[in-house]
């Protein structure tokens, strides 16, 4: 396949940045999207041009490091991560536009690389069960109904890639935050800190400058791990319950 790539180039955080067009030939349908970019980068490097910087690591769709806003959609046309997207989803002669995640809370570091440390800080605000290593009960002393364990697992599958934020017109991080709140709210282990967790994580999310949720469902539609928007409903419930009966005086 022969492709035209319109790629966002930005030297660093303070650079203004602009789109640049590249022609790339000989692309095989069996390549992954990132392998296609590898080929482009090899060509650029051979010519002595700065390769296009993008985040990626496991290339198995689980680490959450790859991002890319492809043809106006986070992770491109399929509901998967960019690293699992293959060129068979595109046509010969197509022009593909590639941008970084666009959100104020995810500043661009270079080209397609953004800073998602805001997500780490949301987890640091309460996305854990406060148990130290050792001194915990036997694993089977906490029976958990299978259905709840499965629902918790559905929420826990979030890979923290940020597609939900990129998809949302408000750049809201509610799907990400609610996935962690839900996982722990569903499990007995999470009960003790349930209220505090909801309050603190929501507060941190707001402090990072993420927008509010207006229930358009774009996040769920684009999430590569099919995290359900019902988690947001659960988070709202958790949050309001926590606020009206707050122990956090």
């Amino acid at each position: 396949m022969d492709l035209t790539l319109k790629i966002w180039r930005q030297k660093n955080n303070s650079d203004k940045g602009n789109f640049k067009e590249y022609k790339l030939g000989g692309v095989s349908k069996d390549m992954s999207f990132l392998e296609m970019l590898d080929v482009l980068n090899e060509e650029l490097s051979e010519k002595g041009e700065d390769p296009v910087h993008f985040d990626h690591d496991c290339r198995e769709g689980i680490c959450g490091m790859c991002s890319l806003y492809i043809n106006g959609k986070p992770h491109g046309p399929q509901q998967t991560t960019t690293c699992q997207l293959h060129m068979r989803s595109f046509n010969d002669g197509e022009t593909i536009t590639i941008e970084p995640w666009r959100a104020k809370s995810f500043p661009v570091m270079k080209d397609l690389v953004v800073d998602r440390s805001a997500f780490d800080r949301i987890i640091q605000a309460g996305g854990y069960v406060s148990v130290n290593t050792g001194g915990v009960p036997d694993a089977n002393e906490i029976p958990i109904p299978k259905i709840l364990a499965d629902q918790a697992m559905d929420a826990a599958q979030c890979i923290g890639c940020g597609a939900c934020v990129a998809a949302c017109k408000n750049a809201s991080a509610m799907l990400f935050t609610s996935a962690k709140i839900s996982q722990l709210a569903l499990l007995p282990q999470g009960q003790v800190e349930r209220k505090r967790r909801a309050e603190q994580m929501v507060a941190q999310m707001d402090a990072e400058g993420f927008g509010a949720c207006t229930n358009t469902g774009a996040c769920e539609a684009e999430c590569p791990k099919s995290i359900s928007i019902s988690n947001i409903a659960r988070m709202n419930r958790e949050y309001f319950t926590a606020v009206v009966s707050s122990e956090n005086l």
């Binding site: 030297k11 490097s45 910087h53 690591d57 130290n132």
Partner: protein, 644 residues
């Protein structure tokens, strides 16, 4: 040089308990006077950093990814072993110990492996308490499945994403300590060197991957939790960023590298599809619980299949060779990874491979779907099937999967004693970065176990023992040894940038990978290894005269990052070849063609090679010195490993 493994006295079952009592303790009020550096935030690193911070030490945690949650432990699929015996099927600490020693083909230390089995049960308790959503039965208790090399069901799992859930558990514990101010995080930071003061590890030099700033960090102990070096093969199941740099720099500063040639080639990966390929994707070993591995019984049928004249489902039952079930009736498709991989290679070498390249075998779920129904199989492996379809474009519910072995894990690593300390005082290696527990072959679902055992349950005791005997005085980073190490790092960066050659970094990496896979991969022989050594030497000298590294240091520069890593892989590759050449026997994943039984199984030489081969760096361009640590087996009898 004599290596002291510091294995405690006493019977196997008492060693760890007694050792825990004998180690020196740091008073709770004094712990805050000590600083510990943890490099890498995978299972070993995150669990160690969190546990040490909980105890009160000041921890600095480093990772090259943008967040500690992305370390490659996250990609582990199948599960984690623990000797809980919840299934009442005869499991015990001793059986897990025995299976692991045997699975490793008797090239691991008894005492370390026993301790691993012993603490395995605590890991599951810890993870459940953190809220890790393990799979459960309807009664609410934990579910188990079985894995290769074992005849009991002792593997705990969270769908096909066990590594993800365990890592997010450890990451949550780490995040809690960041919030508490006990851990300072340094993401997008690469360790470039370790700093020794008076022979002890007292800090590291790092490069900030965003700004290029070279910085010094001082501490009382340094923990390397930096994973394995499978990417020396270019194509592997490792993440693109996984590298040997931290371990290799420590090696060049005096830490011995043990059994570097012990590489695990995983049998169930998606086969290579073309030259553009950047990495290989694993299909979890758990699939072998229900999938049956086969190839056509004859070359003629295989030929037709490769030409597309017939399809897999057209091949009649009597024309299929379920070669693992045929050769190993008692373990069947669940033989250990090295055995499964080697047999896949044999049938493909015979011309019975099933894809266009002839390098693939089938993993077929037809019978399991008929037996259990599609929904049961979907519940167990749905995400893996989806991933397979995403990558290959084929539906594994309808046609058999195609798989082929690929580099997956490295059993070798930095030499450590029973306390996980390298031969450099104050420098520790945890998880895949060390060599200690898996011998010549790792059993499935044991990597997660080891990473968390080291981080949660071993290091908090053993680091304390070391710190209790060290003064709490701090060394500032303007110390001459720090300044010298910093200058060396900066000089190397300048050197790489100034070559301005013609070939890209990836060109060298791919070439090295091909040499390693061809001559130091699934099967090795003396002639090939000697050839490989010469080729690597030549490639290395070409690298340092003709590599093209673009851009500058003072920016995000992925080409420079890769150049550092590939330079180290080139040196490591040569040592792996030396190690494989030295070990004139076959054991586990190390298969020397000259040494095999008449049935083609690995033929060990216990009389001459029951030792850990630890290598000492002697200087640029010099051959490394071999230091042997003899392995003593007091509890298990060394036998020809049999899975028949």
């Amino acid at each position: 040089m004599i290596l002291d493994s510091k294995i405690p006295e006493g019977s196997l079952a008492e060693k760890w308990t007694k050792h825990k009592f004998n180690v020196k303790l740091v008073n709770p009020a004094n712990k805050r006077k000590y600083d510990v550096i943890v490099v890498g935030t995978g299972l070993a690193g995150a669990s160690a950093a969190a546990s040490l911070a909980e105890l009160g030490y000041n921890v600095k945690a480093f990772c090259f990814q943008d967040s500690p949650r992305r370390a490659h432990s996250i990609a582990a699929q199948g599960g984690i072993n623990a000797a809980k015996n919840y299934q009442n099927d005869g499991d015990s600490v001793y059986r897990l110990f025995y299976d692991t020693i045997k699975g490793g083909d008797y090239r691991a230390r008894e005492a370390n492996v026993y301790r691993l089995a012993e603490v395995s049960v605590n890991i599951i308790d810890q993870c459940v308490a953190q809220g890790v959503p393990f799979a459960r039965e309807y009664g609410g208790l934990l579910a188990n499945r079985s894995f290769g090399g074992a005849q009991v069901s002792r593997t705990f799992y969270a769908r096909g994403q066990t590594g993800q859930q365990l890592l997010l558990g450890a990451y949550s514990a780490l995040s809690r300590q960041v919030a508490n101010g006990k851990v300072k995080l340094y993401p997008r930071t690469e360790m470039m060197d370790v700093v020794l003061v008076d022979g002890k590890a007292r800090g590291i030099i790092t490069r900030n991957l965003i700004t290029g700033a070279v910085e010094s960090h001082s501490a009382h102990a340094v923990l390397l939790c930096t994973g394995g070096y499978g990417n020396v093969f270019f194509l592997s199941t490792n993440a693109m960023g996984s590298n040997v740099t931290a371990a290799w720099r420590a090696h060049k500063k005096g830490a011995l590298m043990a059994n570097p040639c012990f590489t695990q080639i995983h049998p169930t990966c998606i086969p290579v599809s073309g030259d553009h390929q950047s990495k290989l994707t694993l299909m979890s070993e758990s699939l072998r619980n229900d999938g049956r591995v086969w190839v056509p019984a004859t070359q003629v049928i295989a030929e037709k299949l490769r030409k597309g004249q017939i399809q897999a489902n057209d091949i009649k039952e009597e024309d299929r060779d379920y070669f693992l079930e045929r050769k190993y009736p008692s373990f069947g498709n669940l033989v250990p990874r090295d055995v499964a991989s080697r047999n896949a290679k044999y049938v493909c070498d015979e011309g019975r491979g099933v894809n266009e390249t002839g390098e693939a075998v089938f993993l077929d779920f037809r019978d399991a779907i008929i037996r259990d129904g599609k929904s049961v199989i979907e519940a167990k492996y749905g995400n893996l099937f989806d991933m397979y379809q995403q990558i290959t474009g084929e539906d594994p519910y309808k046609v058999p999967m195609m798989i082929y072995p690929a580099v997956h894990y490295t059993m070798g690593g930095l030499w450590v004693d029973y306390n996980l300390m390298t031969n450099v005082p104050g420098l520790y290696a945890l998880g895949e970065a060390n060599f200690s527990d898996h011998g010549a072959n790792r059993l499935g679902a044991s990597a997660l176990m080891q990473g968390l055992a080291d981080g949660y349950f071993v290091i908090p005791y053993t680091v304390g023992d070391y710190l209790a005997q060290s003064p709490s005085t701090k060394i500032t980073t303007d110390h001459p040894d720090f300044l010298k190490a910093e200058k060396e790092v900066k000089d190397r960066i300048q050197k790489l940038l100034s070559i301005k050659g013609e070939k890209t970094v990836d060109f060298f990496h791919k070439k090295l990978g091909k040499i390693m896979w061809e001559y130091c991969g699934m099967a090795r022989n003396e002639e090939g290894l000697k050839k490989a050594k010469a080729m690597i030497k030549e490639l290395k000298s070409e690298f340092w005269s003709n590599v093209k590294v673009l851009g500058e240091n003072e920016e995000l520069n992925q080409s420079l990052e890769k150049a550092h890593r590939v330079a180290d892989f080139l040196e490591l590759g040569e040592l792996m070849v030396d190690d494989a050449l030295n070990r004139n026997e076959s054991c586990g994943g190390h298969f020397r063609e000259e040494y095999q039984t008449p049935e083609g199984e690995a033929l060990r030489d216990d009389e001459n090679f029951a030792y850990v081969a630890a290598w000492k760096y002697l200087g640029e361009g010099q051959e490394e010195e071999l230091v042997k640590e003899p392995l003593k087996f007091e509890n298990v009898k060394l036998t020809q490993r049999s899975y028949k």
